[in-house]
Structures are given as C-alpha cells and as structure tokens.
C-alpha cells in the first residue's frame, strides 16, 4: 500500500506531471492524424525520450499509447476516418450519429466510456499486477521459454493479417534476433565479419526502420491525401437518457477490453471489435447498429481504452510485451537500463507504481482535455500531410543517429524501412516481426538454459506443471486457427452451393 501511495508522490512531481501531459497530448495528436500509429511514434521518439529521466520517459510513452486511443475516436466520428485501427468500429455508429447532427454526443459518450474503461482497467491492473509478479517470481528457464513461445504464437495468430504470414514474419524476427555474438559460446552468427553487427542488431534501430521509416514511405503514396470536411460539433454532453442507454455497454466494454488486452496479440483492436459484436449480439434491436446506436460508440471506446491499459500487465509483470506498442515500451525500458519482469516491482517500485498511477492522472487529463480540444484537433487535421512528412522523416533520421552517433545505424534503419515497406505491400504485418525480435533472445537463452537443466531431454518442458500448462495452451492456440478455418469452410459451403445454383439459373 505504501509503495502504491509513493507512486502517486512520484507522479505528482511537476516534471512527471508535465511529461504525462506531453505524452497524452502527443498520443491524442497522433490518434487524430491518420498515418503514424502509437508504435511508430514511440519508435521515432525513443532516441529523444531516453535522454530524460527513466520514470518520466516511461510515463510519457505510456501516455502516448493510451492517449492515441482517445484521439482515434475524434476522426472516426467526425470524418469517418479512423486515426487508429482500434477506432475503426467506432466509425460505423459514430459517423452515423455525426450525420444526424449528434457528433458532440458521440464524442462525449466516447470520452466518458474511454475514461470509465481505462479507470476500471487501471484499478484491476493495480490489484492484479503484484499478484502476477509474485507468482512469476517462481518461473525458471522452462517457464519463461514456454511463455515467450506462447507470446510469439498468440501475437502471430490473434493479430491482424494472415496467420501464416504473421508466423513467417515472427520467425524472421526470431532469426534477426540471433545476429551477433552467441551469449553461450561467444561465436559470431550472421555478422559477416562486420564489427558493427558483432554486437547484434539494435532493437530501437530495427523498430524505427520497420515502423517509422516503413510507415513514412508507405504514407508517401498519398493514400491519406484526400481532403475531408469535418462534421459540426454542437452539444458535447450526452443527455441523461443517452447516458443511461450507454452505461451497460460501457460496463461490458470495459470488462471485455480488460481481458482481451492482457492476451498477447489481442490488444485494443481485437477488444473494440469484440465489444461491438457483443453489444450487437445481445441487443433487442440489432438493426439500429451502424445507423447511429449510442452503444455502438460506447462499447468499443470503453473496450479499447481498457485493453490499452491492461496490456501493461504482461509487460510490467512478466516482461512479455502483448503488442507492438508494448514492444516499443519494452525497448525503451531496456535502453534506460531497466529490465521489465517480475523483479521490476521489487527493484524499481518507484517506476512501477509511478507509471501505473500516472495512468489515473493521464486519463483524468484526457477526459478534461479531449472535449475542449476537439476544435483544435479538427484545425490540426487541416495541416497538409505533405508538410508533416519531412518533419517526421527528419525526426526519424536524426533520432536514430543520436542513439550511438553512428551513420551505420541510419543505414540499418533504412534497410529495415525497405523491408517493412515491402512487407506492407505484400500483406505481411511488421508487428509480429518486431515482437518476435524483442522476445528472440529471451526465448533462445531460456530454451538453451532449460535444455542444460534437463540434460538435453526436451520432455522436461512438458513435465513441469507451469511450463506444461503453458505449452498445452500453446497447442490450443496453435490448433485454434486451423479449427476455425475448417469451421468457416464448412459453413461457407452451403453459401457457395447457393451462389453456384444462382449463377446457373
């Protein structure tokens, strides 16, 4: 309890409050602007962020992440243009409400839902994280190996994109993680006698290439260049009737979001989709959805904020990032000399509770700021992407140079930028690759340590209760997409037959 209260003392320091505010404002801004997502923004800003105090740096990066969930809503409702993938479903009813002249109501409900969802999730995070961390203290190499393996698989199969492509991307990420000196034998791998590659690829450089440069190059093809006219925002506060109608959806969305956020690969996108689907499924009038149902805004917005918050649990307690943005935070912590995992709570309670408690304050800031700032954000949207593009490009290129004062890093970043751009063009998501790259060393080192303990007997992974259970979950997760594909194919067969019959007529 003392540590929890001390966390509030940490975040109440003016410097930390300022970084919290900067973080949520940057987050909202990038949520509003289509193009760069929170992961790309964190990647680009990492070299700058790591020059400040570690606690302030992580508070700011966390703010960017959950702030983006708020910002994404604004463009979804006003422009039918989701700034964030997790706000795509909000488009359906949010934009319909805006067309009916109720844009303010939609934004108001979204802001309240987001606040409730996030706060619910932070309370559960505060209560459950110490328990998970203390449980994880008993983990040995076999458990960590199994957990990292499950993480890689879930990230690859639950996330967006084709599962086989995601798995290939994840495996290539694991392969990139082996570049450099092998920590067991000291032998060089894939370094091709290069001094710079001998220490391996720098995660920040790789992530800046795959997320930052790739995203910048991809956006150059002017897919977001169309001009949009925002709907007018009138009465922002929803009526009592509307709030009553939205409340159960906010409650359910918060619970769904919390649980899906904890799952690796699930995250805010999956949570918003599942919450919307649940509301439509249990509604007595599902036909209202897509035509301006207030629950269609309340549920996904509560869920994506709850999920954004709960995805901090696996990172802070187990050292396993649940999604691409968490991978960036993981990288930031490593660069700052902090290893996320079960020991974090004991070794750096100031950082742990400072970051967790900054979310309470950050969310209040977001609730207070989001509605009055709508007008400013709409105006910012009028800034042409052509003007923002070179600024982003320069931040990226100068930022990566400053990590090690090395032009070699710029070339590595450009190379990964090309890889990321080409991946996006042929339907491979860079997220699984980055996450697997992060987990690569953890996975390899623990598999090899466990094999040494088991005297080379791989069945040792299965006979230990925790690693055995995790691997059983791994098997279920691996089989799930196959079962789902077979089920879909069977279900699709009558439709296809029907279509064929139609075309024959």
């Amino acid at each position: 309890m003392d540590a929890f209260l001390d966390g509030f003392a940490v975040v109440s320091q003016p410097e930390n409050l300022l970084y919290c505010l900067i973080g949520v404002l940057i987050g909202m801004l990038i949520g509003v602007l289509p193009g760069l997502g929170p992961a790309a923004t964190m990647a680009i800003l990492l070299p700058i962020v790591v020059t400040v105090d570690p606690v302030a740096a992580v508070i700011m990066l966390a703010g960017i992440y959950y702030g983006a969930q708020y910002g994404g809503t604004i463009t979804s409702v006003l422009l039918r243009l989701p700034g964030e993938a997790s706000s795509v479903v909000t488009v359906f009813d949010g934009f319909a409400l805006a067309k009916q002249g109720k844009a303010g109501t939609a934004l108001g409900v979204a802001a309240i839902g987001s606040f409730v969802g996030a706060t619910f999730s932070i309370i559960l995070l505060s209560l459950s994280a110490p328990l998970v961390a203390s449980w994880a203290l008993d983990f040995g190499p076999a458990e960590y190996a199994a957990l990292a393996l499950l993480g890689v698989l879930l990230i690859a199969t639950i996330g967006s994109g084709h599962p086989i492509k995601a798995l290939i991307a994840a495996c290539v990420g694991l392969l990139f993680a082996t570049v450099g000196r092998d920590s067991f034998s000291n032998a060089q791998r894939f370094s091709f006698d290069s001094m710079q590659l001998a220490d391996g690829l720098d995660f920040v450089v790789v992530a800046m290439g795959l997320f930052g440069v790739a995203e910048i190059l991809y956006n150059l093809e002017e897919r977001h260049g169309k001009a949009h006219v925002p709907a007018a925002v009138n009465n922002i506060w929803p009526s009592r009737k509307e709030l009553k109608q939205a409340s159960p959806a906010i409650g359910r969305g918060s619970v769904i979001g919390f649980f899906l956020g904890v799952l690796p690969g699930g995250g805010a996108v999956m949570a918003s989709l599942a919450a919307y689907a649940t509301e439509k499924r249990i509604s007595k009038t599902p036909e209202r959805f897509g035509r301006g149902a207030i629950e269609g805004v309340a549920a996904p917005e509560s869920a994506n904020n709850a999920a954004a918050t709960s995805s901090f649990i696996p990172l802070l307690t187990l050292g396993i990032p649940a999604n691409a943005s968490m991978a960036m935070l993981f990288a930031a912590l490593l660069v700052l000399g902090i290893t996320p995992g079960p020991q974090l709570l004991e070794e750096r309670p100031d950082l742990f509770w400072g970051v967790v408690n900054s979310m309470y304050i950050g969310n209040v800031l977001l609730l207070v700021l989001s509605l009055p700032l709508v007008g400013i954000f709409v105006r910012i949207l009028r800034v042409r992407p052509a003007i923002l593009a070179p600024i982003t490009a320069l931040i990226t290129i100068l930022g990566v140079y400053t990590i090690n004062n090395s032009t070699f890093d710029i070339f590595v970043m450009i190379a990964f930028g090309i890889v990321g751009y080409l991946m996006k063009k042929v339907g491979f998501e860079p997220g699984p690759m980055v996450l697997a790259f992060v987990l690569g060393a953890l996975l390899e080192n623990n598999v090899r340590r466990a094999l040494l303990i088991f005297d080379g007997d791989p069945t040792g992974f299965l006979t230990r209760p925790i690693s055995g259970t995790i691997l059983a979950l791994f098997l279920v997760a691996a089989l799930f997409p196959i079962v789902q594909a077979v089920r879909h194919r069977r279900a699709a067969t009558p439709d296809e037959t029907h279509h064929r019959e139609d075309s024959l007529r």
């Binding site: 795509v88 994109g161 052509a386 070179p390 100068l398 004062n405 090309i418 042929v426 090899r448 089920r487």
Partner: protein
C-alpha cells in the same frame, strides 16, 4: 485485416466475422488494387530464400546436440520453420488479396528513400543543416507538391527548429556546419 483471414467465414449469425469483414471493407476503400498471385508467389519465394540461406549458414556454425546445443542449432530450427511455412504459403497463399499493386505513386517512396540514403552519406561529411534543408525541399516541393513559397518557409523553419531542439534543447552533439 484486409485479407481473406478477416473476410466473412460464411457462418450465419457470426457477428464478429461479419464485423471483421465490414472493417476490412472500410480499410479496403483506402487501398490500391490487390497485387494478385504473382505478388504472393514472389513474397513466399523471398521468405523461402531467407529460410534456406539461414539454414545453410546456421548449419555451418555447428548444430551440436540437445545436451550441448551449438551456436547454429537455434537459428537452424527457426530457419527450418521459415522454410516449412513459406512452402505452405506458396501452396495456399496464391488466392490471398492482401497485397497491394505497385503503381506510379510507388516511385514517391523510392525518391524518399534516395533522400534518406543521401542524408546518411552527407551527414558525417557536411553536417546536418544542408542535407536536412535539401531533404525538406525535395519532400515538400517534389513529393508533396507544395508551392515554392511554403516549401522554403517550412524547410528553413524546420531546420532552424531542429537546430534549436537537438543542439541546444537536448544537447545532442549532431555533426553541424555552424
């Protein structure tokens, strides 16, 4: 989310699948036309080549045994998985619609890339000011279609702001002329 994986499975009443399809459709509107089987096959062949190269090199590092794993064992296992998955993709991936055609607009990223490489070469030689100015001019005027007036104003303003931020604000020793 815009590939067959997220398309409706056809299961009636499966609202989540319907929704995913609807989301895919929303995003589809912003995308250029799909690349077709040639793109899918090319992608699978590239990843297959990565897997084969990885496996060959890893084998050379020494596999060892499970009791005493060599430095090559882990990358060999990963490379083998890449090979197997790439073969599966080669077989089942032809009909996927999640690739994007390269078009005339794809020249723009190429030009952007050239400016990045040019910047990286020039930075240690002449400092960051002139390369940053040149990069901004190319991006604003030629890639972004801005007027000369706004190009010059934004470029000079951006370089000045970065000068102040990196050299004075953050105290980072960037190579610089002035």
């Amino acid at each position: 989310m815009s590939d067959e994986h997220s398309r409706p499975g056809g299961g009636r009443g499966d609202i989540l699948a319907e929704l995913e399809a609807e989301v895919a459709h929303e995003l589809e509107e912003q995308r250029p036309p799909a690349g077709g089987p040639a793109y899918q096959v090319a992608a699978a062949l590239v990843t297959l080549a990565v897997g084969v190269l990885g496996a060959v090199l890893a084998y050379g590092y020494g596999l060892g045994s499970l009791r005493r794993p060599g430095p090559g064992l882990w990358p060999f296992v990963i490379s083998t998985a890449i090979i197997a998955l790439s073969v599966v993709l080669l077989v089942v991936g032809r009909r996927l619609t999640d690739s994007e055609q390269f078009s005339r607009a794809s020249v723009l990223p190429l030009v952007g890339l050239v400016t990045f490489v040019g910047f990286a070469f020039l930075l240690p030689v002449i400092g960051f000011e002139i390369p940053a100015l040149l990069l901004s001019i190319v991006w604003l005027r030629f890639l972004g279609g801005e007027s000369w007036r706004s190009t010059i104003a934004v470029s000079v303003g951006t370089v000045a702001a970065f000068y102040a931020l990196f050299l004075y604000g953050l105290g980072i020793p960037l190579p610089h002329l002035f």
